[in-house]
């Protein structure tokens, strides 16, 4: 079997497993349609901390600790951690995970971080460099709005294409040890730039990146949409979902029957007033750690493609007139037959 597959993919010879997963979210997410599936819903948006940044870190720490605990491990057995968030200098990750004292790789992939961390964790385990690796990603509406947009109390009208940053964190233990979910392979995305300038329309900024990586995944694996029970993008929202399906349709792949978007699952857009859906690193991470893993475990699905999507931008690049580029990373998950 060839491990290096096609142009951008890997198919692991000895696939690593998703040994455990944990999702910790805030109240709004807890009130959403997936509310019952999350491991913990924290009502205090500050999670006992004083600032949004530290609160986000606390969410990540909680998700990491829960994932380790659910795997039946102790933190000393975790060889590496791959984690990231949306903030400048990965503030939440650095402060959130410092107490766990793990050998650490901090990542930035915007909202695609869950895919990036899972990819790298899988490579590390499959390569034989570690037994158990932690992958985590977090975001927080307070810290994200403060960094990218306006203070929370500032009144303005959000466009219909805008998304709502998910508060929470998802943690995963990728391991050599067998579990019901296997990571068969990954497809790593490229930075895709279509000159989009509207950060309030993230779905449109990221959809081409998602389309590119999903297309390449099909090519590399010589598979088609019908081979998957579900293909889940991270946070494209209503607008991005339509664009993605159209872009892939033009390339001969009709994913409309199997495609879902984590951002569209986490909130009830109409009643929770979230406009185009959820977003943020935590969006895809907590949806994977709740709904997607559940459906794999109970046998409803056998094979899914998990594709977190990220918009690579900063406030500075936006003010300097640069476009919002997109990236997406695909992780191929399969139910392990026992």
């Amino acid at each position: 079997m060839k491990v290096i597959k096609g142009k951008q993919s890997i198919e692991f010879e000895k696939p690593p497993y998703l040994l455990s997963w944990a999702s910790v979210v805030a109240q709004k997410e807890g009130e959403g349609p997936l509310g019952d599936f999350f491991d913990q819903v924290i009502d205090d948006p500050f999670f006992g901390e004083k600032t949004w940044e530290m609160a986000e870190g606390r969410f990540m720490k909680q998700a990491a600790m829960l994932a380790i605990q659910k795997a039946g491990l102790t933190k000393n057995e975790i060889r590496y951690a791959f984690a990231g968030d949306l903030l400048e200098q990965n503030t939440a990750t650095s402060y959130g995970l410092k107490d766990l004292e793990l050998p650490m790789f901090g990542l930035f992939g915007a909202c695609s971080t869950a895919g990036e961390s899972l990819s790298l964790a899988s490579i590390t385990v499959a390569g034989g460099f570690a037994e158990h690796v932690l992958a985590a990603a977090s975001s927080h509406i307070g810290s994200a709005e403060k960094q990218f947009r306006f203070p929370l109390e500032y009144g303005n009208q959000r466009p219909l294409s805008a998304t709502w940053t998910v508060t929470g964190s998802g943690g995963f233990i990728v391991s050599k040890k067998k579990s019901p979910i296997k990571i068969r392979g990954i497809t790593t995305g490229k930075i895709v730039d279509y000159g989009m300038k509207d950060p309030m329309n993230m779905g449109a900024c990221m959809a081409p990146a998602a389309a590119q990586v999903i297309y390449q995944h099909f090519e590399d694996y010589s598979m088609a949409p019908k081979d998957y029970d579900a293909i889940y993008t991270g946070d494209l929202g209503e607008v991005g979902k339509d664009i993605l399906i159209r872009l892939l349709n033009e390339n001969g792949y009709d994913i409309s029957k199997v495609h879902g978007d984590c951002g569209l699952e986490i909130y009830e857009n109409e009643t929770q007033d979230t406009h185009s859906g959820g977003s943020g690193c935590a969006c895809s991470a907590v949806v994977l750690a709740s709904m997607l893993t559940r459906k794999l475990i109970n046998g409803e699905w056998k094979r899914i493609l998990f594709v977190p999507t990220g918009a690579l931008m900063s406030k500075t690049s936006f003010n300097e007139g640069e476009s919002v580029t997109g990236i997406a990373h695909a992780v191929l998950l399969e139910k392990e037959e026992t």
Partner: protein, 153 residues
């Protein structure tokens, strides 16, 4: 991918597929919201003139101060955002919107300290309005001065 749209085609596609707020409806909401603030101001002015015995000029000044206070309180209770969400420019443009844009960073950045937090960042949103407001009145002032000097006015 085999078939990729050009940047231009893609922009057009996004334009077509992105839903927008209904402009006409938004204008009506803005009119009602902004109008409500003006009506409130006028009511306060009349009341102060009648019961506090203030002159027109003084009561107008008081109206400004009171509306700012009201907006800051509403911001503190996280209610002003809801007004602007409904009313759009009707909530942003009146002096209450301006007060909201100063009070909200004060709350948000308070944790970064009195100097580097509140001090530096309190005008992040209102700053440009103040700067260009003063600058444009300066330019108009010069035009006015010259026009008067040369007997155009």
């Amino acid at each position: 991918m085999r078939k990729e749209p050009s940047k231009q085609e893609y922009n057009q596609m996004v334009e077509e597929m992105t839903p927008k707020h209904n402009c006409f409806l938004n204008c009506i909401k803005a009119f009602v919201t902004g109008g409500a603030f003006c009506l409130l101001g006028e009511f306060m002015k009349q009341m102060m003139m009648k019961y506090w015995g203030l002159g027109k000029k003084d009561s107008l000044m008081f109206v400004t101060i009171e509306l700012v206070l009201l907006s800051v309180l509403l911001t503190g209770f996280n209610l002003y955002g809801k007004i602007t969400k409904f009313g759009g420019a009707g909530g942003l443009v009146p002096i209450t919107g301006f007060a909201n844009s100063v009070a909200s960073p004060a709350i948000e950045y308070q944790k970064e300290g009195q100097v580097f937090g509140i001090g530096v960042k309190i005008f992040t949103i209102a700053g440009p309005v103040i700067l260009y407001g003063i600058f444009s009145s300066f330019v108009i002032g010069i035009i006015y001065l010259l026009a008067k000097q040369w007997g155009w006015m």
